[in-house]
């Protein structure tokens, strides 16, 4: 595994914009950074892929364990949602994708967290870095069949979903491009699609249905909007009441995996497992170096990193009220000098590609640089 410095393509902004990455610069800082790339060996890619697959199996077992042992309370999930989580876990309505964030030093893989409900950085991982590879290093390979997996999964789901499939997100550039890309993959699978912002979803109290801007019934909705926010919203109870009438993708059971309490539950189930870091729900216990994360946190908010009794980073945010998990700190730079996080993508539970993010500090957030990769 080696980090290379190169000259970016002279018109790189235009090139990545044309393939959907319109948010390549965040707050005047470069987010898509092609002045660098990571080169992996085929064996290292195999290692990441195998670890992701094994972790997925462990998460499936953790889901069973959470429900069998009535631990949804540990995840601070609102009681009205619990029955729906159980039902959907058993009935397996359509679920699409997820992204595990991994620490990888060339040998050891450690799970940092699982973004199973609303993962982003998809356009850059599935599309932008692929086009970059084709232009810059066509003789090399890339761990990336995300696009093909998405199209195949939509095809498989098409027999189980009512159309059109609505894609909804907040009114923000990155989210809008992410759902546009996902719409693209669904359309290539033959599905009819529509898109709207979540605020434009209507509730028809007469028919007890969600409706679109034209007051048409919405029966299948992909939402790039977290379940915990949905449930806190005014329409949250309606989503729970009408779950049979409306299919939500991702399904509500993903609340179990996107919750960082999962990290502590996995550690309880698989103590000292080579792919896990020690993690606890009741404090750092015997850890000397740890990262405190809100169990319902997003994008690096409210994270504290403590090394040798000293707080080296603490990020602001509003996620402190839902409880925390304390996870052992791992040096994301490994034996090198640049910190990196592997975003390992799964579609339909199968590993199918990755993206590399480089945080400047200890905490990865939504402006941490995305760097393309290849392998030989």
């Amino acid at each position: 595994m080696e980090r290379h410095r190169i000259l970016p393509r002279p018109d790189w902004q235009k090139k990545v914009e044309q393939v959907g990455l319109t948010y390549h610069t965040v707050r005047m800082e470069t987010y898509w950074d092609e002045s660098t790339y990571w080169e992996f060996s085929a064996a290292e890619i195999d290692r990441i892929e195998a670890a992701t697959s094994e972790l997925q199996q462990m998460c499936l077992a953790a889901g069973d364990s959470i429900l069998d042992n009535d631990r949804l309370g540990d995840l601070r999930i609102p009681p009205p949602a619990c029955a729906r989580i159980r039902e959907t876990w058993n009935s397996e309505p359509p679920a699409l994708y997820g992204r595990m964030d991994l620490a990888f030093d060339g040998r050891d893989v450690k799970l940092l967290e699982y973004n199973a409900d609303t993962p982003t950085s998809l356009v850059e991982a599935a599309v932008a870095q692929w086009y970059w590879l084709e232009e810059r290093y066509p003789e090399a390979d890339q761990y990336n069949s995300i696009h093909e997996h998405l199209v195949a999964k939509w095809k498989e789901l098409s027999g189980y979903m009512r159309q059109p499939v609505y894609f909804a997100c907040e009114s923000c550039d990155e989210d809008w491009m992410t759902i546009t890309y996902l719409r693209d993959t669904a359309q290539q699978a033959g599905l009819g699609t529509e898109a709207l912002v979540v605020r434009d979803i209507g509730w028809d109290s007469a028919s007890q249905r969600f409706v679109d801007g034209g007051n048409r019934s919405m029966e299948t909705i992909f939402k790039l909007y977290p379940w915990e926010a949905m449930l806190a919203d005014r329409f949250g109870p309606h989503a729970l009441e009408t779950m049979g009438k409306t299919q939500w993708i991702e399904p509500i059971w993903k609340m179990m995996w996107s919750n960082k309490a999962l990290l502590a539950i996995l550690w309880e189930m698989y103590p000292n497992h080579e792919l896990l870091l020690p993690a606890y729900l009741d404090g750092p216990r015997n850890l000397d170096e740890w990262v405190q994360k809100p169990i319902l946190g997003r994008e690096g908010a409210n994270v504290t990193v403590k090394l040798g009794g000293i707080t080296v980073e603490s990020t602001p945010g509003r996620y402190g009220e839902g409880g925390f998990v304390w996870q052992q700190y791992v040096d994301l730079a490994g034996s090198g000098t640049s910190r990196k996080v592997i975003g390992s993508w799964l579609v339909d539970g199968e590993p199918c590609g990755m993206g590399v993010r480089e945080p400047d500090g200890y905490v990865t957030n939504n402006s941490s640089r995305f760097v393309p990769h290849l392998f030989r």
């Binding site: 959907g20 319109t22 599309v127 979540v198 605020r199 409706v211 977290p226």
Partner: protein
């Protein structure tokens, strides 16, 4: 592991070139101008929408204290 073909992204490219406001505007524009009384809107998006201004304020305070030459 390698893809066999380039990623076809007609819709994504079209929206990227046109820009986000076009699609959003279209979604808003196609909303029925006469909304029946039994249909409410705006019931999703409240939680995170209320959150971003807070992040902004906290972030500004954080940055101001960070760059104000504190100890």
């Amino acid at each position: 592991m390698r893809k066999s073909t380039a990623v076809p992204i007609a819709l994504l490219s079209a929206v990227a070139i046109a820009g986000m406001p076009v699609e959003v505007a279209r979604a808003v524009h196609t909303r029925s101008s006469v909304v029946p009384a039994m249909i409410e809107r705006g019931g999703f998006g409240e939680t995170l929408e209320n959150y971003w201004p807070l992040i902004g304020v906290v972030g500004v305070i954080f940055l101001m204290s960070y760059f104000s030459g504190g100890e």
